[in-house]
Symmetry: C2
Subunit: 382 residues, 2 copies
């Protein structure tokens, strides 16, 4: 907006300029609020994107708005979220590559204003047919991230019946920039988080594979442990602590001789003593990793018994870290319900009876209680 003021400017003209300036201030303030909210929810991009499409519709006084993301594999545009106009029924609906105005904008990487879709051959009317929404005008702009179009933002039907103009477009492009940043940051964060986790899991699986009887063990123990932890309503940070510890609980077996790990029979007392080192070795392996500082005690203590007769430190009751008490139950259940060199798998019902029998001695009874209920519910559902 350019406000060139000449000497002959009248009061009316000044009022008009002032009004325009105030509108612009209000728009920029909304943008400012949104861009600031971007960073506050780096791991919850949903909130930010919802706020962006709402604000785009409100600021442009439009009837509806929608965010569509490019499916990298197919090149289709997928409705990610919709504000009014067809509402969430459209979520996950897909446009073929280059289909409609959104498709054109994504393919060409350029914005487009169409103030009368009836006159526009690029318009794809089938979405209106599906939702019952009547599109009259569209303003659509691309989301760019790292040199590629990752989606489009579209705003539909100005409420006052006026055409969309260049000011509207500039504002929408700013919203697009915000949305692209939020998405790109969230993807980057997610990729790095998931990458670390996948690597950890792959290495844990390789350690499991040293002992043919424990294939998939760490994976299952992690799943059971997270079920219990979710029931206890642990916060995200504590859930992560339990998850890392569960994935890595047997990492100390790297240091145990394969002759013992693979022995097809019961271990001698001397061999048992060596085997019993694995929680300590595991804790030592992760010792210097500050990222795993809180998981480390759960690894060290996942063979403690609730009555204090476990190892390595004979901790007792609530002195055993909660994460370790959770993993102990998950670990024992998986050990009982899979084949071992010296016996076949117990049926799940019998494994659970065994857990209940040892509650208060080997296991925290509250955790056995939660887990047994979960297994029963899961079995009732199938």
């Amino acid at each position: 907006m350019h406000t060139v003021e000449s000497k002959s400017t009248t009061v009316t003209e000044l009022r008009c300029l002032l009004q325009q300036a105030q509108t612009r201030i209000s728009e920029l303030a909304t943008l400012q609020e949104i861009t600031l909210s971007l960073g506050q929810h780096i791991d919850n991009v949903t909130l930010v994107l919802r706020r962006i499409i709402e604000a785009a519709a409100e600021t442009l006084q439009a009837e509806a708005s929608a965010l569509l993301l490019v499916d990298e594999e197919t090149g289709e545009l997928v409705f990610d979220r919709v504000h009014k106009g067809g509402g969430n029924d459209l979520r996950q609906h897909r446009l073929a590559p280059s289909e409609g105005i959104a498709g054109w904008v994504a393919t060409h990487g350029e914005p487009l204003i169409v103030n009368d879709v009836a006159q526009e051959t690029r318009f794809a009317s089938r979405i209106d047919d599906e939702t019952g929404f009547h599109t009259r005008s569209i303003l659509c702009a691309p989301l760019w991230a790292r040199g590629r179009v990752i989606g489009v933002l579209e705003v539909l039907n100005r409420r006052d019946g006026q055409p969309f103009d260049e000011d509207n477009l500039r504002l929408t492009q700013a919203f697009c920039a915000s949305a692209a940043i939020a998405l790109d940051n969230a993807r980057l964060y997610r990729a790095v988080y998931q990458g670390g986790l996948d690597t950890m899991k792959a290495l844990a699986a390789a350690i499991d594979a040293k002992d043919p009887y424990t294939r998939g063990h760490s994976d299952r123990v992690t799943r059971y442990s997270l079920q219990i932890a979710h029931h206890l309503e642990l916060d995200t940070r504590d859930l992560d602590t339990v998850m890392y510890a569960a994935i890595l609980h047997d990492v100390g077996k790297i240091g145990i001789d394969e002759q013992i790990l693979r022995k097809p029979g019961l271990l001698t007392p001397a061999e048992q003593a060596i085997m019993a080192h694995h929680p300590v070795i595991g804790a030592t392996i992760v010792e210097g990793v500050s990222f795993l500082r809180e998981s480390q005690p759960c690894i060290r203590h996942h063979h403690e018994w609730y009555d204090g007769r476990g190892y390595p430190d004979q901790l007792c009751g609530k002195a055993i870290p909660l994460g370790a008490r959770i993993i102990t139950v998950a670990d024992a259940f998986d050990a009982m319900s899979t084949d071992r060199p010296y016996r076949a798998a117990l049926p799940p019902a019998q494994a659970m009876t065994e857990l209940e029998h040892c509650a208060g001695q080997t296991f925290d009874p509250a955790i056995v209680d939660i887990f047994v209920k979960q297994v029963h519910e899961a079995r009732a559902e199938t």
Copy 2:
């Protein structure tokens, strides 16, 4: 800014309101530009922070500005970056907890305007004494992240001699919010990235430890490989690929029997054949990890020879991935320059002669060339 307009508003008053509105638009546009730049450099927070303190000084028409961060261990405030006024000489200078106006703001979590520091007992004059800058007035506001003060932003001496006012303060607080988000995002990203890396390294070290002769091997191979990769000016992504592959190049040894790994003598041909599986096992372990997709071939091929006589696939010359060719040289140098069961370590000079001797056969001659120069330079420096 409230612009209540009455019927009696004159042209002069309107012009004044318009001027204020235009100033506000310009301020908000600057803020908008900065908040958008936050996300574009999630892994390069330095750029964003520099832009924030420059913009804070410019927008408030101040002589200088500075960002100070709380040292979590000591509670001190550390000058992180300074715009004019003492310049970068101040970097890493420290204020004791609660020292000066910045310390007061950090401790109380509240902003402060002091328009005449000569009258202010909280002012710490020693920084001016050190820099020769003459502070007359200060506007200082805290950076909040996750419920804690992580630093303060201070703006010094309005150029027009006017006092700092509430509008200046609101704007500075918006800059503080941006800076806090940039810092917090960068820390979160860094923590997750570093966490994954540290875990990977800890597990690699544990695998090294299976064989007492290779303690620290993965660490050193990673260091040498990154030296070479930096010289080749690989981009960040390729550097990460080489780094992950170097850390994990021997991960397949998880699957090799310790009797062979620890054998105190030369291996028989049959044992050598088993040992030669480790690059393939390693590649299989990381197969499902999309994060390691590009590192995987470097793991698989780190024992190929430049003349095609290596294993497992007898790749030749440039058909061997660059990362693998780098790791081969680093790996061989470390193997030669540390003790082995069947021989003592070679002196570095002899290990390098050996590398040069095998350049073009075992090794990519260009990479041997780079590495040998680097080792010579490092030895010349010490």
